[in-house]
């Protein structure tokens, strides 16, 4: 739900690959969390997802800071942090002999392995994040509509850029158990792309995106139930892509008639 709403902001900000960058940063972060647990048995109870989450949010802020300072373009900044996260993850897991531990679940996601504590934490985070989007709806809207015009009219757009970055980081951490690192950017892109094919206004776009997101997750889960060997992550993303294709066809048909 959060990813679907955020996807509209992320796609329109031309940061479609930020999900990928942040997911790989999360891989590095969670690997560090696991390593801390392995090397410091007394701290073993620290949830590696918590450390991963903190590092992702920090990474997201760093990506935004790099883009805002105009040192690197958006895609280059995302690429740098993606490689940094992945390399850190591989290095840390190999050095601490944890390589392979929970790797499959991390890369491809497994909603069946999600614990209740993670669900409660995710629900709390979702409420807070959607609350922030509602409270700052107008400022976020103007920032993605045209940042230069928004700045020129006195809106401090940098605050909303960072808010968006933090929310994207949170959405990534929450989504990792569902679709895994490799497919996470699909949840942060496909719902917006699909709804933009059909919607005629921003209001419609932002209302339809969560519907596409939820439909992908529910139908994808259903697909993995009727086909027990199908991993839910892959099924969810394939359904999302099918919905995008359907939306594109509908748009094309509407333009003809």
């Amino acid at each position: 739900m959060l990813s679907s709403i955020l996807s509209v902001y992320i796609v329109l900000k031309r940061l479609s690959l930020i999900g990928d960058g942040l997911a790989h940063t999360a891989y590095g972060g969670i690997a560090i969390g696991l390593a801390v647990g392995a090397l410091q048995p007394r701290l073993v109870n620290i949830n590696p997802y918590l450390i991963g989450g903190a590092i992702v949010v920090l990474g997201s802020i760093m990506i935004t800071k790099t883009i805002r300072s105009a040192r690197l373009s958006g895609d280059a900044a995302v690429a740098v942090f993606l490689e940094l996260g992945l390399a850190t993850g591989i290095f840390v897991t190999s050095v601490t002999l944890n390589y392979g531990f929970q790797l499959d679940a991390l890369l491809f996601g497994s909603i069946l392995l999600v614990e209740w504590s993670q669900i409660y934490a995710a629900a709390l985070v979702l409420v807070l994040a959607i609350g922030a989007i509602i409270v700052f709806y107008k400022q976020l809207l103007y920032t993605i509509f045209d940042e230069v015009q928004a700045r020129a009219s006195g809106i401090e757009t940098w605050k909303f850029d960072y808010l968006l970055a933090i929310l994207a980081g949170i959405a990534v951490v929450v989504s990792i158990p569902i679709v895994g690192i490799l497919l996470i950017s699909a949840l942060l892109v496909l719902p917006a792309l699909s709804s933009m094919q059909i919607a005629r206004s921003f209001k419609q776009t932002i209302l339809m995106a969560p519907m596409f997101g939820l439909a992908s997750v529910v139908l994808g889960m259903f697909l993995s139930i009727i086909q027990p060997h199908a991993a839910p992550g892959g099924s969810i993303v394939l359904v999302g892509l099918a919905l995008l294709l359907a939306a594109m066809v509908i748009k094309k048909v509407k333009s003809v008639f």
Partner: protein
């Protein structure tokens, strides 16, 4: 004003824009016209010197008194999923309440601006479906709903056909005359400037002219500012 990398975009420019004036900002390509507007809007910070808006340093509060219309709106470039009505309503965001919804007054001002710019019939159209002339009217309406004291246009008619240009300039003239809104129009077309503007500012990195249009001696100033011989052809009316 120097960009990172050492490019000097503006040098020793001192000027004052008076209330109610209609200023034509001219200069060749790369003269720094857009940079000057961006400095006034606080988007680009000068290395030395300062800008005062309405007698005060730049702040979010006094920036809200400015309506800015860019050359190519970013949202047009990204094919932003927005109707004309929504795009114009966005001009109310800096002035609207802290609540996430828009008030009846916001909507009333949008309807009024659509009417003034004669684009009511376009309000349900997507902004991606508009012609160049219609786009500039929509973004002028968006600037107008903030009830600005100063309107700034950055080459607003690039890629707009001749008839739409004439109608657009006529709207700007009316806004300046009827509502007394101070207007700064950055533009290439010298004939339009001399027809419309009360004051001309001519720059090419530095200031070449700042004065009344009636005192603007194109034949003397333009060859120096443009760095090559400029032939001045008088038009009967602006194109």
């Amino acid at each position: 004003m120097r960009y990172p990398g050492g490019v000097q975009a503006l040098d020793h420019i001192t000027l004052k824009i008076s209330k109610g004036d209609f200023v034509g900002l001219i200069g060749p390509n790369g003269a720094g016209k857009s940079t000057l507007l961006n400095v006034i809007l606080g988007i680009v910070k000068p290395n030395t010197g300062y800008v005062r808006l309405f007698g005060e340093p730049i702040s979010p509060r006094n920036l809200r008194k400015i309506g800015y219309v860019p050359q190519i709106p970013y949202s047009k470039d990204t094919n932003f999923p927005s109707t004309v009505y929504e795009a114009v309503l966005m001009g109310r965001i800096p002035h609207s309440s802290r609540f996430p919804w828009f008030s009846a007054d916001d909507h009333h001002k949008v309807e009024h601006a659509l009417k003034r710019l004669e684009i009511e019939d376009l309000k349900n159209r997507g902004i991606g479906e508009l012609s160049g002339g219609e786009t500039q009217r929509v973004f002028t309406a968006k600037a107008l709903v903030g009830e600005p004291q100063l309107l700034m246009f950055d080459e607003p008619t690039s890629g707009v056909d001749v008839e739409a240009k004439r109608e657009f300039y006529s709207v700007l003239e009316q806004l300046n005359r009827d509502l007394g809104i101070t207007t700064v129009l950055s533009i290439h077309d010298l004939a339009v400037v001399t027809q419309l503007a009360k004051t001309i500012i001519c720059i090419n990195r530095r200031l070449y002219f700042d004065g009344l249009t009636t005192r603007f001696d194109a034949k003397a100033i333009l060859p120096r500012a443009y760095n090559y011989p400029v032939e001045v052809i008088e038009h009967g009316e602006h194109p």
